[in-house]
């Protein structure tokens, strides 16, 4: 114990390698500038300025990550590794996941910035609970007080996510968890004046999220009690070889796991997902579904593979069981859904299960395939929710499935795009969704958890059923008389959908481009 403590006391003056953490600094800086924009820029140009700052910050950070990643391969004097007194790990997985988060965030920012078609703003809204618009950015009255605060909020969340996937210290990880969670609670409540659902979603997300943060923190406390340190390396060294009976260690691991699996949306910690996905404004849902998942899985992978790798014999069965539950519950309950957003929420639960299959493989291959899956899934799901924002009727977004009937006849392009994203989710070859599944299943067979693959293929057939059902609705049935109209494609949404479509095809046909990078990024610093 004393030896560990002595190790934790740094002798040299702390120096921070600012370049290595510059992506996070840029994003947080942009977030603060965004707040200033909110305060000082006149209202009519606020949206443009806010978007410019947010998108500029995210893209600049992405550029920095790419720049840093080039150093990964250089043998001489790599500037990467543990920085900021070993609190932050800048290594392959961190950079890959940061790049994924930033790319996905940039795409969802385009959706977030899109203004709801003005002519569709419902007249009487405030008390009307059930059926009003879901568009978070949509305005409330004739002269819209726009929610431009989404830009700084999103940036703070993104900054938190970047820190979350590279934290090498449980306290830093906890701080990052809170930085990313708090803006998300606010974002999901943005449509609260128009829909009670949004309010409910925000409150539910906040309460359950706070609960899970408490679990996480309790786990950190126990692990600190066990190892005398919060550093991932120190805990790993203290855990050593599995002994089987160290209550502090195992209880700490379990509680930490609960906190992370909550963010992942794994069963049985999933109950917030459908409500929040349905209640939150759709562009916010897209952002959460893509980016939060990357961040949460990134942290989960780091904790399990860096710190507790030697205990994998103990946690693999647990992760395997959670994966089975997650796949089965997600896919089966999704079948009964009648709301598009809820269906996509349950499908995201099922996909969390597929990714957990890669985690349970607990190997390099499992890591790189999970990372590929996260990136591929992110683009697909942003695309799918992006299409949902387009299908509207007089009350706003028409999310009830029955309203999508015959959409393929009214607007073949939009329906075709949605069908494409659904087939990608179902894992049809030549889409990124297929290669993601192929990669994680390969890792699982290799890692000796073939039973997860068998459960995976059966549940993905179940999942294919409800994706196919939506296609049936859109293409095989005649349009309903009072069906929704498809909003004209606006430039920002089109750009976002175009990016998602291109990414899904490219990652499906030539996955090599990213598989290679993921493969080279598969080493954590210890």
């Amino acid at each position: 114990m004393t030896a560990v403590l002595a190790q934790a006391q740094p002798l040299q003056a702390p120096s921070i390698h600012y370049l290595a953490i510059s992506p996070m600094l840029v994003v947080f800086g942009a977030a603060i500038v965004g707040v200033l924009v909110e305060a000082f820029v006149p209202q009519r140009s606020r949206r443009v300025a806010g978007l410019a700052v947010a998108l500029g910050g995210v893209l600049a950070a992405l550029g920095l990550v790419v720049f840093l990643a080039q150093d990964l391969n250089s043998a001489t004097d790599p500037m990467l590794g543990l920085v900021a007194r070993d609190a932050i790990a800048v290594d392959g997985p961190a950079l890959f996941l940061q790049a994924a988060i930033l790319a996905l965030a940039a795409t969802s920012l385009l959706l977030l910035a899109e203004r709801a078609p003005a002519d569709r703003v419902p007249a009487a809204v405030d008390g009307d609970v059930a059926a009003t618009s879901a568009r978070g950015l949509a305005s409330l009255r004739a002269l819209p007080p726009e929610h431009t605060e989404i830009f700084p909020l999103t940036l703070f969340a993104v900054g938190g996510m970047l820190l979350f996937v590279s934290a090498h210290n449980l306290i830093v990880m906890f701080v990052a968890l809170e930085i990313l969670s708090l803006p998300l609670y606010l974002l999901s409540g943005l449509a609260r004046r128009r829909r009670l659902l949004s309010q409910e979603a925000a409150v539910k997300y906040f309460l359950l999220g706070a609960f899970s943060s408490a679990f996480f923190l309790y786990g950190v406390a126990l692990l600190y009690g066990f190892a005398g340190s919060v550093s991932l390396t120190a805990i790993r060294d203290a855990a050593g070889q599995p002994s089987g009976d160290d209550p502090l260690l195992y209880a700490g691991l379990a509680l930490l796991g609960v906190g992370l699996l909550f963010k992942v949306g794994a069963v049985p910690f999933h109950s917030w997902t459908p409500d929040v996905y349905q209640g939150a404004p759709t562009p916010v849902t897209a952002f959460m579904a893509a980016c939060t998942k990357v961040a949460a899985f990134g942290a989960l992978l780091r904790v399990l593979l860096v710190t507790f790798y030697n205990l994998r014999g103990d946690w693999r069965p647990a992760i395997g069981a959670v994966a089975v539950l997650t796949m089965v519950v997600g896919a089966v309950i999704a079948v009964t859904q009648t709301d598009v957003k809820r269906m996509l929420a349950y499908s995201s639960i099922a996909h969390a299960g597929f990714i957990l299959t890669g985690v349970a493989a607990s190997s390099r291959r499992g890591l790189s395939s999970s990372m590929f899956y996260l990136l591929a899934y992110g683009f697909i799901v942003i695309g799918a929710f992006g299409v949902v924002t387009l299908v509207r009727d007089a009350d706003g977004e028409a999310t009830h499935l029955s309203k999508w009937q015959g959409l393929g006849r009214r607007s073949p392009a939009v329906a075709g795009l949605f069908a494409f994203f659904l087939f990608a989710l179902a894992g049809i070859p030549f889409t990124s969704g297929f290669f993601g599944k192929f990669a994680v299943w390969g890792a699982a067979v290799d890692g000796g958890v073939t039973y997860l693959v068998i459960v995976g293929v059966v549940t993905s057939a179940v999942a294919a059923f409800f994706y196919a059902r939506v296609v049936v609705m859109m293409f095989f049935q005649e349009p309903a008389a009072d069906g929704p109209e498809v909003a004209r494609l606006r430039p920002l949404t089109s750009a976002a959908l175009g990016v998602c479509l291109a990414a899904t095809i490219v990652l499906g046909v030539v996955p090599e481009l990213v598989v290679d990078i993921a493969g080279r990024s598969e080493l954590f610093v210890r």
Partner: protein, 509 residues
């Protein structure tokens, strides 16, 4: 000319055609249809060109091989090539697609999408037969479902939604189970050779343990058994075939079912020879059962399209029987049977399509005595039907005879039982012909029915011509098939030089 990428060209031309057709302006539908047919004819011409380059006595299994890295990290390649088995099936596909497109001229709903989807399907089908990288094979095998799903779901009959979803889910799930086996094989090659690969020829060199073989055989079995379809996995077929539009039915029966039997012969047997011999009795049992089940259910159908759909189950039963009898005649017959069934059943579905366009019903009782009203249509129906029941002189006879002979020489009892299947075949075809074509005209609405027009004659004539040619002179096709069959036989015998089942092997070799 050997260096020309024949297979890629044959596969890519329809893909380009699909894009071109879907980009045509909505006002130029006629041109779009002509364009689609032109692209499919180019693909057919290229196929004929490829056949001239094929040497049936070549030493290596695959010819005209093209090989490129695709996804290096996983050892996945773009690798295509043909042996005799693949060659005849690619030829069948390239031949049937222009016929189907011409037959679909009167589609009036979302015309461009229909023609584009069929061309897309052609690309996938040709790719499935040409692939010798198992990942590529698998990817095309699965992606093929999507165009067929839309063909059934959008242009199908009354119960099209049910049929389309059932078809999609059945085949998808079965394919996914095969994926588990494919992944397992991949890691076996990695453990054996250091670097994993999906290269089929590398897989052949792998020595798989007996128990593993059996599990992997079952993994592939599910996928192919659903495609064929074998008895307990067949329930999607009557619905899909009946509800699909004519073009969809022809390609489903003509080509897509063959992917199952092709899969058994290309993948299951050579990769898992020990397991194939172990499961051969089960396979032959299922085949034999299918022969009688399909025939008996066909006889009682009221819907003529459903009747033909069930005859497919019987015919494919013969193919499975011939394949797993493990004799050269049996397997040669089975491969030839794949081609012949594609032609005869394809012709029957085309003719039923003509009838349906005239009367918009598929019920047998709605027809009757048509021979006096539409003699040419009735005659084509008769020829196609006789080909289906294996009348000597038409194509079906040669293959059915070879299958029965090959089965008999190793399993006399099974051969004799299977022969009774022919009687049932005669029954369902002739009864159907009698009820629809012979006798007095029973339904007034049929009196004014028009006979085949020029387009329809152009559709059906090439198919009937090939039916007759192959019936009289099947030798060229058999010569192409023979080396492939020889190879499959060697794979099975290699691990078991003295089959325990029969003593007749020596005479056949």
């Amino acid at each position: 000319m050997k260096d020309f990428p024949w297979l890629t060209a044959i596969g890519v031309v329809p893909l380009v055609g699909a894009l071109a057709v879907s980009l045509m302006p909505a006002s130029r539908l006629r041109l779009a249809k002509q364009l689609a047919i032109a692209f499919s004819l180019v693909s057919l011409a290229l196929t004929i060109g490829m056949i001239t380059q094929f040497e049936s006595g070549a030493a290596e299994q695959f010819q005209l091989v093209e090989q490129h890295q695709w996804i290096k990290a996983f050892g996945i390649q773009y690798k295509v090539g043909v042996d005799g088995l693949a060659l005849v099936l690619i030829a069948l596909t390239a031949f049937l697609v222009p016929v189907v497109l011409l037959a679909s001229w009167n589609v009036d709903n979302k015309v461009k999408s229909y023609f584009a989807l069929i061309l897309l399907l052609e690309t996938a089908m040709i790719g499935v037969f040409a692939a010798i990288d198992v990942f590529l094979f698998y990817a095309l095998f699965e992606v093929m479902l999507v165009p067929m799903y839309f063909l059934i779901g959008v242009w199908g009959g009354e119960r099209r939604v049910y049929a389309a979803v059932k078809f999609f889910l059945y085949t998808l799930l079965a394919g996914l189970l095969m994926l588990v086996a494919v992944l397992t094989m991949y890691f076996l090659t990695r453990d054996a050779a250091g670097a994993g690969t999906f290269d089929y020829e590398q897989w052949l060199t792998l020595d798989v343990a007996r128990n593993t073989q059996r599990w992997l055989f079952l993994g592939f079995f599910v996928a192919f058994a659903v495609k064929v379809p074998l008895f307990p996995f067949h329930t999607w077929l009557p619905d899909a075939h009946t509800e699909a539009p004519t073009g969809g039915s022809v390609l489903l029966a003509g080509v897509m079912l063959k992917i199952g039997t092709f899969g058994f012969m290309r993948y299951s047997i050579p990769l898992f020879p020990e397991a194939s011999r172990y499961f051969a009795p089960m396979m032959m049992g299922l085949g034999l059962f299918g022969i009688f089940y399909g025939a008996l259910v066909a006889i009682v159908q009221k819907d003529i399209k459903r009747l033909v759909a069930y005859t497919s189950i019987a015919h494919l039963g013969f193919i499975i029987l011939g394949t797993f009898a493990f004799t050269r005649q049996g397997q040669s017959g089975a491969v030839l049977y794949m081609v012949n069934h594609g032609l005869s059943t394809g012709a029957l579905f085309l003719i039923i399509g003509f009838l349906y366009e005239r009367r918009h019903t598929r019920l047998i009782e709605e027809y009757g005595g048509l021979r006096s009203v539409v003699p040419v249509l009735a005659a084509t129906f008769l020829v196609a039907g006789l080909s289906s029941l294996a009348l000597p002189g038409l194509n079906g006879f040669v293959s059915e005879f070879l299958v029965l002979l090959g089965t008999y020489s190793r399993h006399p009892v099974l051969g004799i039982i299977a022969t009774f299947g022919i009687i049932l075949a005669a029954l369902y075809i002739l009864v159907a012909y009698q009820r629809t074509m012979q006798g007095p005209v029973t339904v007034e609405a049929n009196r004014g029915m028009a006979d085949l027009d020029l387009r329809e004659k152009l559709v059906i004539a090439p198919v009937l011509l090939v039916i007759i040619v192959l019936g009289v002179y099947p030798a060229p096709v058999l010569r192409v098939i023979e080396p492939s069959v020889q190879r499959v036989m060697e794979r099975v015998e290699k691990t078991d030089p003295a089959p325990t089942i029969e003593s007749a092997t020596g005479e056949q070799k």
